[in-house]
Symmetry: C2
Subunit: 427 residues, 2 copies
Amino acid sequence: MLIPDNATEAMLPKGVKDFLPVKATKIDFLKSSILKIFSQWGFRPVIPPSLEFLHDLERGLGAGLREKTFRFDDRQSGKLVAFPPDITPQVARIVATRMREMPLPLRLCYSGRVLRHTEMQAGKDREIFQAGVELIGLDSPEADAEMIAMAIECLKALGAQEFTIDIGQVEFFRGVMENLPITGDRATQIQAAIARKDNSGLKTLLSDLTLSEQVRNEILALPRLFGGREVLRKAGEVVTNDRSRKALTNLQKVLEILEVYGVENHVTFDLGELRGLDYYTGVTFQGFLSGFGRAVCFGGRYDNLTASYGYPAPATGFAFNLLNLLFALDKELDSLATCQTDVLIFQAGPDKEKAQRVAQALRKKGFSAARDIIPRDLEGSMEYARKMNFRFVMTLMPGEEVRIISMTDESERQVSYSSILHPSFAL
Amino acid sequence: MLIPDNATEAMLPKGVKDFLPVKATKIDFLKSSILKIFSQWGFRPVIPPSLEFLHDLERGLGAGLREKTFRFDDRQSGKLVAFPPDITPQVARIVATRMREMPLPLRLCYSGRVLRHTEMQAGKDREIFQAGVELIGLDSPEADAEMIAMAIECLKALGAQEFTIDIGQVEFFRGVMENLPITGDRATQIQAAIARKDNSGLKTLLSDLTLSEQVRNEILALPRLFGGREVLRKAGEVVTNDRSRKALTNLQKVLEILEVYGVENHVTFDLGELRGLDYYTGVTFQGFLSGFGRAVCFGGRYDNLTASYGYPAPATGFAFNLLNLLFALDKELDSLATCQTDVLIFQAGPDKEKAQRVAQALRKKGFSAARDIIPRDLEGSMEYARKMNFRFVMTLMPGEEVRIISMTDESERQVSYSSILHPSFAL
């Protein structure tokens, strides 16, 4: 059978990838570091299934995600089933149907993989690796701030140096836009111009509409309302509608709490864009690492989602996109998550008992150790250890002698077999 | 919207489940404990994708798994894609197409979820949680023994008390059966009778076949060839065909190595059954916990699988079924993987700065801590802490005073706010 050189690319559907040990070690490190912080903040795991009835899942999906959902006929039930494109609606369903007798708030976390259809040419990931939290039952700014502070703590723990959490408020945006007396295509074009921060395009689109000066000014201000905390003040000078002003007060409170956390330097604002998923109802945010355009985390308040499963409760949450993190932090992760084994144990001759005992002793001490059980000479084992990134080669000689060769500098030391079995032994 | 009481059951397709925090904590513990041991034995992670082209995946699937595979048309490629029912063929593909320039042996591990169709009434899991290893490039009994020894070490680490690894050898079985001069339905019936250990049924099925006395005796012996190590001796007395005798010698060597590991007491043999997946070619094994009928792990040698992706290499591997482990070890896991948070922090009044500082300090020390940011009184917080299984409630009083109440025995102690921030503070 002939496998072409570019076999990998050819053999996998677009938008999914194999991760070999070097990258997989980094992904595992990202996931476990993030989940450890979630746990330290009191969040507890839930594991939703990979299959749901489409009908039930769709209650919690906006139009954007519905059309991206992998779906098919279920042989067993005869109903349409789906692979979830998003985990938050699954957690909302679990809370609403299985945890409603628990006292609020609920702090829940998850990690998992979701599938989303993408456009043919986009080259985007169809399989998305997520690790996220949901905080259910609290509508206070404290809860929104907790999400943002936790995201920042995670990014610091992952070795990120320069990053920002860019905060929005969908209620601010909606407060301005609800005074726009049109819907349909023109409204969509206007939103797109705002998102592109295209001031002159926006002006043209508004020019023939009958708007009060105040409404026109508020809409025209939107593309400029991004940047540091001064954005909140600027916005307060422009908008007069109640809905937007309430949203600004809410943002101001969140910012004050973030100042107590001491993380306000990582925060920026963007009030001129309606980003993220359809179910958001308040503060939203996205995390960006310097020099990397795609968001590494995203989240926000979704006060109506559990209600669509029959249990109304305010809620907020966010998730990391692990593959975007992997891409953005690849260099930092080289030293934090090295794909390496401590010791390769080599014993010539037919009797392998000592090698086995040494391996057991090393593992009991917490070291990683593999035995070279292929028939080859020491030079062969050294070559293997070098290529496979072992830290040390341990050669068991006849009698008591053991040689330990460091693969970093090829230095060698000799120890006795029994000293390795002793609790005091260290590499 | 009305949600019936049995909403959960009704809302999920059969064969998949939601896991709430108590069970999810246990699953996470099982997975991380197993992966830690895999890593200590020198195995490195790979992450295959959730989607593959059906055509490529099927190269590595036997008939049994092919018909259980979830498949559908891919909107993007127009080709049939599938959700993998088994991870081993994915790892074989990865090794054959993307790691062939790496020196052998390769020690690889994975954890993931696979989907399999099941019969309508079976009530079996369709989503299977696995954590497994593949050892590629070694055909020696050392490699088979390494798999079994590692499975045993994992089971011990998970708190399993009484368990056995039941070892088979497909070559032994095939050596006996290849002298049966029939195929088709009757052959299938004969295999089924052997698997049921149905001696008299087997006798009847063989009665009108023209067989040499030797062949008849070998086949009739199969249902009795299970039990302790004496099985190997008994089998040696019965079989004379070369293929089976070679398989016995191989098993004998594996057993000798397991004796050096000191784990032979956990080992039983069953030579009268062809269990497991179609791709096995030598030693196979399954792990059983006392009192639980389903295997918690299974594996074996598969020397032809990577060749079906263009790269011939001997290989062996095994995987744990995490949900079977969860079921079998549920009680043991109550103490090993408790769903618990260390401290609930309560501060009355509008200023929450101290509560935030205390939370940060506790987390820095490695404790888990959540803040009760809902407006309620201390009694309300205590009630919440009890129901949500917190270990301590910490109440920040005005001034320096902090009260720490143990939820285990309701005992209370007082400390100063600044002492908690001090590095020497312990719970």
